[in-house]
Amino acid sequence: MSNGTNEKGRSKVSDKELMELIQSGDEKSFTELVARYQDRLLNFVGRIVTDQETAEELIQETFLRIFNQKQSYTPEYAVSTWIYTIALNLARSELRKRKLRRFLSLDFLKEESDVEIAGKSGGMGESLGPIIQKAIDTLPEDYRTAFILCDIQRLPYQQIAEILRVPVGTVKSRINRARAMLRDKLKPYKEIYYELSRGIPQTISLY
Protein backbone atom coordinates (compact mmCIF):
# COMPACT_ATOMS: atom_id res chain seq x y z
CA MET A 1 0.00 0.00 0.00
CA SER A 2 1.56 3.21 -1.11
CA ASN A 3 1.11 6.68 0.28
CA GLY A 4 -0.81 7.59 -2.79
CA THR A 5 -3.82 5.52 -1.73
CA ASN A 6 -6.97 7.31 -2.77
CA GLU A 7 -9.94 8.04 -0.46
CA LYS A 8 -11.95 5.07 -1.64
CA GLY A 9 -9.01 2.71 -1.33
CA ARG A 10 -8.20 4.06 2.11
CA SER A 11 -11.69 3.40 3.44
CA LYS A 12 -11.35 -0.25 2.42
CA VAL A 13 -8.02 -1.01 4.02
CA SER A 14 -7.85 -2.85 7.32
CA ASP A 15 -7.00 -1.07 10.56
CA LYS A 16 -3.49 -2.52 10.57
CA GLU A 17 -2.82 -1.38 7.01
CA LEU A 18 -4.17 2.02 7.93
CA MET A 19 -1.77 2.20 10.86
CA GLU A 20 1.14 1.31 8.56
CA LEU A 21 0.16 4.20 6.31
CA ILE A 22 -0.07 6.54 9.31
CA GLN A 23 3.35 5.37 10.50
CA SER A 24 4.77 6.19 7.08
CA GLY A 25 3.44 9.75 7.47
CA ASP A 26 0.17 9.63 5.53
CA GLU A 27 -2.02 12.27 7.18
CA LYS A 28 -5.18 11.36 5.28
CA SER A 29 -5.00 7.86 6.71
CA PHE A 30 -5.01 9.42 10.15
CA THR A 31 -8.18 11.33 9.25
CA GLU A 32 -9.71 8.01 8.16
CA LEU A 33 -8.72 6.42 11.48
CA VAL A 34 -10.38 9.30 13.38
CA ALA A 35 -13.55 8.84 11.34
CA ARG A 36 -13.55 5.10 12.02
CA TYR A 37 -13.08 5.32 15.75
CA GLN A 38 -14.57 8.63 16.92
CA ASP A 39 -18.09 7.30 17.61
CA ARG A 40 -16.93 3.94 18.91
CA LEU A 41 -14.67 5.67 21.37
CA LEU A 42 -17.39 8.10 22.36
CA ASN A 43 -19.72 5.21 23.14
CA PHE A 44 -16.96 3.70 25.26
CA VAL A 45 -15.43 6.72 27.00
CA GLY A 46 -18.75 8.61 27.16
CA ARG A 47 -20.36 5.81 29.14
CA ILE A 48 -17.41 5.60 31.51
CA VAL A 49 -17.15 9.31 32.30
CA THR A 50 -20.92 9.92 31.79
CA ASP A 51 -20.37 13.33 30.26
CA GLN A 52 -20.24 13.82 26.51
CA GLU A 53 -18.23 17.05 26.57
CA THR A 54 -15.50 15.55 28.75
CA ALA A 55 -15.65 12.36 26.69
CA GLU A 56 -15.01 14.30 23.46
CA GLU A 57 -12.05 16.06 25.05
CA LEU A 58 -10.65 12.72 26.17
CA ILE A 59 -11.15 11.22 22.72
CA GLN A 60 -9.40 14.20 21.16
CA GLU A 61 -6.52 13.61 23.55
CA THR A 62 -6.61 9.91 22.63
CA PHE A 63 -6.17 10.76 18.95
CA LEU A 64 -3.36 13.18 19.77
CA ARG A 65 -1.57 10.41 21.63
CA ILE A 66 -2.17 7.98 18.79
CA PHE A 67 -0.64 10.50 16.40
CA ASN A 68 2.34 11.23 18.66
CA GLN A 69 3.01 7.61 19.54
CA LYS A 70 2.13 6.07 16.17
CA GLN A 71 5.57 4.49 15.92
CA SER A 72 5.07 2.64 19.20
CA TYR A 73 2.20 0.57 17.76
CA THR A 74 3.16 -2.98 16.90
CA PRO A 75 0.92 -5.28 14.83
CA GLU A 76 1.13 -7.83 17.65
CA TYR A 77 -2.20 -6.48 18.95
CA ALA A 78 -5.30 -5.33 17.12
CA VAL A 79 -5.35 -1.59 16.38
CA SER A 80 -8.65 -1.32 18.24
CA THR A 81 -7.10 -2.92 21.35
CA TRP A 82 -4.29 -0.35 21.30
CA ILE A 83 -6.72 2.56 20.80
CA TYR A 84 -9.14 1.36 23.47
CA THR A 85 -6.27 0.95 25.93
CA ILE A 86 -5.11 4.56 25.39
CA ALA A 87 -8.69 5.85 25.72
CA LEU A 88 -9.30 3.76 28.84
CA ASN A 89 -6.16 5.09 30.52
CA LEU A 90 -7.29 8.65 29.89
CA ALA A 91 -10.82 7.92 31.11
CA ARG A 92 -9.45 6.31 34.28
CA SER A 93 -7.25 9.30 34.88
CA GLU A 94 -10.30 11.56 34.55
CA LEU A 95 -12.25 9.42 37.03
CA ARG A 96 -9.37 9.63 39.52
CA LYS A 97 -9.44 13.43 39.23
CA ARG A 98 -13.18 13.44 39.82
CA LYS A 99 -12.87 11.23 42.88
CA LEU A 100 -10.74 13.89 44.43
CA ARG A 101 -13.34 16.52 43.69
CA ARG A 102 -16.49 14.93 44.86
CA PHE A 103 -18.03 12.01 46.60
CA LEU A 104 -20.01 9.68 44.40
CA SER A 105 -23.07 8.19 45.98
CA LEU A 106 -23.67 4.54 45.26
CA ASP A 107 -27.41 5.04 45.38
CA PHE A 108 -28.08 5.68 41.72
CA LEU A 109 -31.75 6.51 42.28
CA LYS A 110 -30.95 9.48 44.47
CA GLU A 111 -27.86 10.51 42.55
CA GLU A 112 -28.11 13.51 40.33
CA SER A 113 -25.84 13.11 37.38
CA ASP A 114 -24.07 16.26 36.14
CA VAL A 115 -24.85 15.55 32.55
CA GLU A 116 -27.28 13.00 31.34
CA ILE A 117 -26.23 10.85 28.46
CA ALA A 118 -29.47 10.38 26.66
CA GLY A 119 -30.18 9.86 23.06
CA LYS A 120 -33.03 9.56 20.69
CA SER A 121 -34.23 6.05 20.56
CA GLY A 122 -37.27 4.18 19.72
CA GLY A 123 -38.71 0.75 20.33
CA MET A 124 -38.32 -1.35 23.41
CA GLY A 125 -35.26 0.40 24.81
CA GLU A 126 -37.05 3.72 25.17
CA SER A 127 -38.27 3.25 28.70
CA LEU A 128 -35.47 1.09 30.09
CA GLY A 129 -32.61 2.89 28.31
CA PRO A 130 -32.17 5.92 30.62
CA ILE A 131 -32.73 3.75 33.68
CA ILE A 132 -30.15 1.17 32.66
CA GLN A 133 -27.72 3.94 31.72
CA LYS A 134 -28.00 5.39 35.23
CA ALA A 135 -27.60 1.92 36.69
CA ILE A 136 -24.45 1.33 34.59
CA ASP A 137 -23.05 4.68 35.77
CA THR A 138 -23.23 3.52 39.39
CA LEU A 139 -21.34 0.25 38.87
CA PRO A 140 -17.82 0.08 40.30
CA GLU A 141 -15.33 1.13 37.62
CA ASP A 142 -13.83 -2.32 36.91
CA TYR A 143 -17.25 -3.91 36.44
CA ARG A 144 -18.60 -0.97 34.47
CA THR A 145 -15.70 -1.02 32.02
CA ALA A 146 -15.96 -4.76 31.46
CA PHE A 147 -19.74 -4.50 31.00
CA ILE A 148 -19.46 -1.61 28.53
CA LEU A 149 -16.79 -3.36 26.47
CA CYS A 150 -18.81 -6.58 26.38
CA ASP A 151 -22.43 -5.52 26.15
CA ILE A 152 -22.24 -2.10 24.48
CA GLN A 153 -19.05 -2.31 22.43
CA ARG A 154 -19.68 -6.01 21.74
CA LEU A 155 -16.02 -6.98 21.95
CA PRO A 156 -14.95 -10.60 22.50
CA TYR A 157 -13.69 -11.70 25.93
CA GLN A 158 -10.12 -12.14 24.66
CA GLN A 159 -9.87 -8.56 23.40
CA ILE A 160 -11.45 -7.18 26.58
CA ALA A 161 -8.81 -9.09 28.55
CA GLU A 162 -6.05 -7.51 26.43
CA ILE A 163 -7.48 -4.00 26.87
CA LEU A 164 -7.92 -4.39 30.62
CA ARG A 165 -4.71 -6.42 30.95
CA VAL A 166 -6.35 -9.08 33.08
CA PRO A 167 -6.92 -12.81 32.46
CA VAL A 168 -9.95 -13.86 30.43
CA GLY A 169 -11.38 -15.60 33.50
CA THR A 170 -11.34 -12.28 35.36
CA VAL A 171 -13.17 -10.62 32.47
CA LYS A 172 -15.91 -13.27 32.52
CA SER A 173 -16.24 -12.97 36.27
CA ARG A 174 -16.51 -9.16 36.10
CA ILE A 175 -19.14 -9.28 33.36
CA ASN A 176 -21.15 -11.86 35.29
CA ARG A 177 -20.90 -9.78 38.45
CA ALA A 178 -21.79 -6.54 36.63
CA ARG A 179 -24.93 -8.10 35.16
CA ALA A 180 -25.92 -9.45 38.57
CA MET A 181 -25.40 -6.02 40.15
CA LEU A 182 -27.49 -4.38 37.43
CA ARG A 183 -30.22 -6.94 38.02
CA ASP A 184 -30.28 -6.01 41.70
CA LYS A 185 -30.30 -2.30 40.91
CA LEU A 186 -33.14 -2.68 38.45
CA LYS A 187 -35.37 -4.65 40.81
CA PRO A 188 -37.64 -1.62 41.40
CA TYR A 189 -38.18 -1.51 37.63
CA LYS A 190 -39.02 -5.14 37.24
CA GLU A 191 -42.31 -4.37 35.55
CA ILE A 192 -40.54 -2.47 32.78
CA TYR A 193 -38.05 -5.12 31.97
CA TYR A 194 -40.40 -8.01 32.43
CA GLU A 195 -42.40 -6.27 29.77
CA LEU A 196 -39.21 -5.88 27.75
CA SER A 197 -38.08 -9.46 28.28
CA ARG A 198 -41.35 -10.66 26.78
CA GLY A 199 -40.44 -8.93 23.56
CA ILE A 200 -36.98 -10.42 23.28
CA PRO A 201 -37.03 -13.14 20.69
CA GLN A 202 -34.19 -15.22 22.16
CA THR A 203 -35.66 -15.22 25.68
CA ILE A 204 -37.21 -18.41 26.84
CA SER A 205 -40.19 -16.70 28.35
CA LEU A 206 -42.98 -17.99 30.49
CA TYR A 207 -44.78 -14.67 30.80
Binding site: L64, G125, I132, I152, Y193, S197
Partner: protein, 189 residues
Protein backbone atom coordinates in the same frame (compact mmCIF):
# COMPACT_ATOMS: atom_id res chain seq x y z
CA UNK B 1 -27.58 -29.24 37.90
CA UNK B 2 -29.17 -27.29 40.74
CA UNK B 3 -30.45 -23.68 40.74
CA UNK B 4 -27.22 -22.32 42.21
CA UNK B 5 -25.11 -23.92 39.51
CA UNK B 6 -27.42 -22.63 36.80
CA UNK B 7 -27.66 -19.14 38.29
CA UNK B 8 -23.90 -18.58 38.17
CA UNK B 9 -23.74 -19.84 34.59
CA UNK B 10 -26.56 -17.71 33.20
CA UNK B 11 -24.23 -14.89 32.11
CA UNK B 12 -22.02 -17.33 30.20
CA UNK B 13 -25.15 -19.01 28.86
CA UNK B 14 -26.28 -15.71 27.31
CA UNK B 15 -22.86 -15.21 25.75
CA UNK B 16 -22.87 -18.78 24.48
CA UNK B 17 -19.67 -19.42 26.37
CA UNK B 18 -20.49 -22.80 27.89
CA UNK B 19 -19.23 -26.18 26.78
CA UNK B 20 -21.93 -28.19 24.95
CA UNK B 21 -22.41 -30.58 27.90
CA UNK B 22 -22.90 -27.84 30.48
CA UNK B 23 -25.10 -25.83 28.13
CA UNK B 24 -27.36 -28.81 27.70
CA UNK B 25 -27.57 -29.30 31.47
CA UNK B 26 -28.52 -25.65 31.94
CA UNK B 27 -31.14 -25.85 29.20
CA UNK B 28 -32.64 -28.97 30.78
CA UNK B 29 -32.83 -27.21 34.16
CA UNK B 30 -34.47 -24.18 32.60
CA UNK B 31 -37.17 -26.39 31.12
CA UNK B 32 -38.68 -27.03 34.53
CA UNK B 33 -37.37 -24.23 36.86
CA UNK B 34 -39.55 -21.13 36.78
CA UNK B 35 -37.26 -19.13 39.10
CA UNK B 36 -34.12 -19.68 36.99
CA UNK B 37 -36.07 -19.00 33.84
CA UNK B 38 -37.25 -15.68 35.23
CA UNK B 39 -33.70 -14.83 36.22
CA UNK B 40 -32.51 -15.62 32.71
CA UNK B 41 -35.21 -13.32 31.35
CA UNK B 42 -33.95 -10.52 33.60
CA UNK B 43 -30.36 -10.99 32.47
CA UNK B 44 -31.36 -11.04 28.82
CA UNK B 45 -33.46 -7.91 29.27
CA UNK B 46 -30.48 -6.09 30.77
CA UNK B 47 -28.10 -7.21 28.04
CA UNK B 48 -30.58 -6.32 25.31
CA UNK B 49 -31.33 -2.93 26.84
CA UNK B 50 -27.58 -2.19 27.05
CA UNK B 51 -27.07 -3.22 23.43
CA UNK B 52 -30.03 -1.10 22.39
CA UNK B 53 -28.80 2.00 24.17
CA UNK B 54 -28.84 4.89 21.73
CA UNK B 55 -25.53 5.25 19.98
CA UNK B 56 -23.68 8.43 20.87
CA UNK B 57 -22.20 10.47 18.05
CA UNK B 58 -19.53 13.14 18.25
CA UNK B 59 -20.57 16.75 17.76
CA UNK B 60 -20.09 18.43 14.38
CA UNK B 61 -16.57 19.41 13.47
CA UNK B 62 -14.91 16.89 15.78
CA UNK B 63 -12.53 15.66 13.07
CA UNK B 64 -11.51 19.26 12.26
CA UNK B 65 -10.90 19.97 15.95
CA UNK B 66 -8.60 16.96 16.17
CA UNK B 67 -6.73 18.11 13.05
CA UNK B 68 -6.42 21.63 14.50
CA UNK B 69 -5.15 20.27 17.81
CA UNK B 70 -2.50 18.24 15.97
CA UNK B 71 -1.46 21.23 13.83
CA UNK B 72 -1.28 23.49 16.86
CA UNK B 73 0.82 20.89 18.65
CA UNK B 74 3.13 20.60 15.66
CA UNK B 75 3.58 24.39 15.54
CA UNK B 76 4.36 24.51 19.26
CA UNK B 77 6.88 21.73 18.76
CA UNK B 78 8.52 23.62 15.90
CA UNK B 79 8.75 26.84 17.93
CA UNK B 80 10.17 24.97 20.92
CA UNK B 81 12.55 23.13 18.59
CA UNK B 82 13.79 26.42 17.11
CA UNK B 83 14.19 27.95 20.56
CA UNK B 84 16.05 24.90 21.77
CA UNK B 85 18.36 25.20 18.74
CA UNK B 86 19.01 28.86 19.48
CA UNK B 87 19.61 28.21 23.16
CA UNK B 88 22.02 25.43 22.26
CA UNK B 89 23.99 27.72 19.92
CA UNK B 90 24.00 30.54 22.51
CA UNK B 91 25.14 28.11 25.21
CA UNK B 92 27.93 26.75 23.04
CA UNK B 93 29.10 30.30 22.18
CA UNK B 94 29.14 31.22 25.86
CA UNK B 95 31.18 28.14 26.71
CA UNK B 96 33.73 28.88 23.98
CA UNK B 97 34.05 32.52 25.11
CA UNK B 98 34.45 31.49 28.75
CA UNK B 99 37.11 28.96 27.80
CA UNK B 100 38.98 31.57 25.74
CA UNK B 101 38.88 34.10 28.61
CA UNK B 102 40.09 31.42 31.02
CA UNK B 103 43.12 30.50 28.94
CA UNK B 104 44.04 34.00 27.86
CA UNK B 105 43.51 35.92 31.11
CA UNK B 106 43.78 33.18 33.67
CA UNK B 107 41.41 31.97 36.31
CA UNK B 108 39.87 34.42 38.76
CA UNK B 109 41.74 34.28 42.08
CA UNK B 110 39.91 33.07 45.11
CA UNK B 111 42.72 34.04 47.60
CA UNK B 112 41.60 37.03 49.72
CA UNK B 113 45.13 38.40 50.21
CA UNK B 114 45.97 38.22 46.57
CA UNK B 115 42.62 39.70 45.70
CA UNK B 116 43.35 42.57 48.08
CA UNK B 117 46.80 43.08 46.67
CA UNK B 118 45.29 42.82 43.24
CA UNK B 119 42.95 45.69 44.11
CA UNK B 120 45.81 47.64 45.61
CA UNK B 121 47.89 47.02 42.52
CA UNK B 122 45.08 48.09 40.28
CA UNK B 123 44.65 51.30 42.34
CA UNK B 124 48.33 51.95 42.09
CA UNK B 125 48.18 51.27 38.38
CA UNK B 126 45.35 53.78 38.10
CA UNK B 127 47.53 56.47 39.88
CA UNK B 128 51.15 55.58 39.17
CA UNK B 129 52.33 58.81 40.88
CA UNK B 130 50.93 57.82 44.28
CA UNK B 131 53.70 58.47 46.89
CA UNK B 132 54.87 56.01 49.46
CA UNK B 133 52.71 56.75 52.50
CA UNK B 134 55.44 56.11 55.04
CA UNK B 135 57.97 58.05 52.99
CA UNK B 136 55.85 61.21 52.98
CA UNK B 137 57.44 64.06 55.05
CA UNK B 138 54.28 64.62 57.11
CA UNK B 139 53.90 60.98 58.10
CA UNK B 140 57.56 60.28 58.81
CA UNK B 141 58.04 59.14 62.40
CA UNK B 142 61.16 61.21 62.76
CA UNK B 143 59.29 64.36 61.99
CA UNK B 144 56.15 63.62 64.06
CA UNK B 145 55.23 66.94 65.81
CA UNK B 146 55.86 66.93 69.54
CA UNK B 147 54.22 69.66 71.68
CA UNK B 148 56.71 71.99 73.20
CA UNK B 149 57.52 71.39 76.89
CA UNK B 150 56.05 67.89 76.89
CA UNK B 151 59.52 66.38 77.22
CA UNK B 152 61.60 67.38 80.26
CA UNK B 153 64.72 69.37 79.43
CA UNK B 154 66.76 66.81 81.34
CA UNK B 155 65.57 64.11 79.03
CA UNK B 156 66.20 66.15 75.99
CA UNK B 157 69.71 66.84 77.24
CA UNK B 158 70.40 63.15 77.70
CA UNK B 159 69.24 62.57 74.09
CA UNK B 160 67.21 59.55 75.09
CA UNK B 161 63.84 60.52 76.44
CA UNK B 162 62.66 57.20 77.66
CA UNK B 163 65.84 55.87 79.27
CA UNK B 164 66.93 59.07 80.96
CA UNK B 165 63.45 59.97 82.18
CA UNK B 166 63.18 56.52 83.72
CA UNK B 167 66.58 56.87 85.29
CA UNK B 168 65.66 60.24 86.69
CA UNK B 169 62.43 58.82 88.15
CA UNK B 170 64.29 55.94 89.73
CA UNK B 171 66.92 58.22 91.23
CA UNK B 172 64.41 60.79 92.44
CA UNK B 173 61.57 58.62 93.79
CA UNK B 174 62.33 54.92 93.96
CA UNK B 175 65.79 54.95 95.45
CA UNK B 176 65.04 57.34 98.35
CA UNK B 177 61.99 55.26 99.24
CA UNK B 178 64.06 52.13 99.09
CA UNK B 179 66.65 53.66 101.32
CA UNK B 180 64.00 54.72 103.81
CA UNK B 181 62.36 51.28 103.87
CA UNK B 182 65.74 49.58 104.15
CA UNK B 183 66.78 51.76 107.06
CA UNK B 184 63.49 51.09 108.88
CA UNK B 185 63.82 47.34 108.40
CA UNK B 186 67.46 47.39 109.55
CA UNK B 187 66.51 49.28 112.69
CA UNK B 188 63.77 46.89 113.65
CA UNK B 189 65.62 43.62 113.02
Amino acid sequence: MNCRGVSRRLSAFIDNDLSPGIRQAVEEHLQHCLSCKRQLGEYEAIVTAARDLPSLTVTDGFGERVAMAINSQQETKEVLGALRYRFTIAGAAFMVTSAAVFFLVGPPSTDVTSTYSGVQDSLLRQSPAAPDFWAHPETKVSSFPVPEGSIPQQAIDSKSVLRNDSTVRIEEYVLPDYQRVKETVDRKF
